[in-house]
Each structure stands twice: as C-alpha cells, then as structure tokens.
Amino acid sequence: MDYNVIIDNLPLYLSGLWVTIQLVVMALVAGFGLAIPLALMAVSKNSLLRYPAKTYIYFFRGTPLLVQMFMLYHGMGQFEAIRESVLWIVFKEAYWCAITAFALNTAAYTAEILRGAIEQTPFGEIEAANAGGMSKSTLYRRIILPGSFRRALPAYGNEVIFMLHGSALAGVITIVDLFGAAKIVNSRYFVPFESFITAGFFYLCCTFCIIWFFKWVEKHWYAHLRPRTH
C-alpha cells in the first residue's frame, strides 16, 4: 500500500464525499416527497389511481438503476421536444440527471415500503378515528401516515443504505463523487487497491453512520414500545 497517494489525494476524496452526500440527500428528499402520493395512490380503491402507481413502482423496482440513469442521461437528448424545452437545463447536466434518476428510483422503493406499512395499519385505529368523527384527510394526516412512517422505519433505513450504494453509479457518468474520485486517482497513478479501498472505506463509514442514525431514531420513535424498567 502506498499511503502517500491516499494522503495527497485526500482533498479530492473529501470533495467526492461531499458530492455523494449531496446526491443522496437530494435524491432521498425528493424521492420521499414523491413516494407519499405514490403510496396513497397504490392503496387507493380507485383503479385509475392505483394502476398508474403500481405500474410505476413495478417498472422502477424491476429494472436496474444504471439503465434508468442512462435513459435520462444519454436518452433524453433523443427527443427534439425535450432539447428545446426548459427541461433541457436539467437533463444536459450529468449531476441533475443522476439526482433525477436516483429520486425516481428511490421513490418507487419507498412507495412500496410505505404501501406495506399503510396496509398494516391496525383497523382499530381507523375505527377509533371514524368514531371520533375525523374526516378522511385528518384520518390520514393524524393516524394512518404517522403510524405508517413508524412501521416503515427499519425498511426505510435499508433503502437509505441502498441509495448510498446506488449513488456510486454517478461516478460512471462523469460526476466526481466518491467513486468518481477513486476512478480519477486510479487512472492517474494506477493504484487500484489504494484508490478503491479508500473509497470503500468512506462508503463503509457512511453506511455505519446511517445505521447509527436509524438506531437513534428508532429508540426515539419506539420509546412507547420499550419494556418498562421500573
């Protein structure tokens, strides 16, 4: 191992780490925002709402993220209409293509997790809300969604880790994230072990941080489920 290469290129790795964090956080926030309406559509009794949502979820969960990203990054330029519209500002940049692809992808997975959680709402809670005279929107806002978020938490933690790992694909389309930084170091000095193991180490640290974070949130959100200690 040549540690000097790693130390000399530490700033590059750190800026890559920063890009990775940006990609993951933006994709997760946008994806989560998209996932809530998708999940509500997927549990709806109206088939006009249900089928589009289910098809969306099926497509994005059934195809590789790499292909989805290529469809946006390489594919969007195929359409004259897109190249001439304002959307082109988004799709001509690798950075925004990657974020869009990641957000659309994680939205499908998150929606599926939320759908499962919504369907597991204990019926007694809904009956109690109805008995209390809640309107449908209040029922969702106060009872179904908060409970579902709590039930979805462990699975969502896994999804966040998958998103972090998936974000390495951004390095393939010229973005200098952690993986992109490792690729640059490798091609400059031809030190595959040093370059990729360093990136792997950073990813591992991020993964552990995410696991700790979700453990902490779980402790907070599941406080009422803990056995009493006195």
Binding site: T63, F70, G75, P192, G200, L204, F208
Partner: protein, 228 residues
Amino acid sequence: MFDLHGYFPMILEGMLLTVEVALLSLLIAVILGLIGALAKLSKSRIARNAAAVYTTLIRGVPDLVLMTLIFFGGQIMVNNLGDSMGWDYIDISPFVAGTLTIGFIFGAYMTETFRGGILAVSSGEIEAALAFGMPSWKVFVRITFPLMVRHALPGFGNNWMVLAKTTALVSVIGLHDMVYNAGVAGGSTRQPFTFYLVVALMFLCITGLSDLGLQWVNRRFSVGVRKV
C-alpha cells in the same frame, strides 16, 4: 413497436451474456452463502467472526466499488502471484471479474438468508437424524438442507432479482452485456432512449419469468405444508 434498425439480435446476444453472468454468479453466491451460513452457526469463534466480517464489509460497500476493485486490483494480484510462481501472463477478463464479484457480493446476502432458513428448521428433525446415527454432514444434506429451502426461498427469490439487476454493472467494466450493447446501438442510431427502454423491458421479462419459476419451486417445496 420499436424500430431497432436491425440491432435486436445484438441486444439478444447481450441478454444471453447477462443471463450467463447472472446464473454463474448465482451459483457462486449459493455456495458462498451455504459456507457463510454454516460458519455463522458453527461453534468455532474464528469461523463466526470471519463470516461476520465478510457479510458486514460486503454489505457496507457499494457493489460498483467492489467490482472495479476486483477487476483492476485482481489483475495486479494475479500478475504478482504469477511472477513469483513463474506462470505465464493470466488475463482477468471482465467476465471473470464481474461474475466473481457479483457472486462474492450476493454470497453475503445469501449467507443471511440461509442462516435464517437453517434456524427455522425445527430442532426435533435434526435431533431425530442424530439419534439415527447420521454423521453431521449427512444430517445437513438429507435433513437440514431440504427443509431449509422452503424457509429460505422468499429471501432467495429477492436476492436473485436484485442479483439479476446488478449484472447491469458489468457493462461498466467493459463486458458486452445487454446494457453495453444498447449503448453501442443507441449511439450509432442516435436513439439511446429507445434502446435503453428495450433493455429495461428485457430486465422486466427476466424478473417476471423468474417470479413464475420461483412460485413453481415454492409449490414443490411446500407440498407437505398445510395452509390456513
């Protein structure tokens, strides 16, 4: 539906390679998964710790990073080993690197799946086998393994679907799979979106067909199970 300008056979060829990589790495993953699960459940502390390090490391690092590490780093390692042993030059092809990495990664996921499956086998069955004087390998082959399959099958199915999608990454290290060929065809026809969409639909076909296959296997292994 799509005008593919005669590139469809090329995509199909790529699909064949995708399926080949997927099946071969599945084989490696199952073998590693069984070894890993047995190591995690073994009495030896070294085996347990080694398996724990394996699953934690693999599941903490992105597959793409591992794949490039094995592709570029594996070549250097083989070169050094070859120099000291006096072998001829051995080339690590993208096919070998891709298949090994994907098998290696999913071995970690299979370890967890199989471990859960083995734990779900009722201990009475194993005790009965031991009471008949079966040696422990025979207990595993005849009793634990066949009974474990049913419990491990849902997790196995999930892992397989994720594995099939992960094979798309081999195009990044230059293997001419479905995704790579779609890139070539899309570049020369200037219709990248069309070709990537076709590839996406092919992946949906693969996962859809596997779903049917898995349902069939599940029925076979649950024949004696009463349902509520």
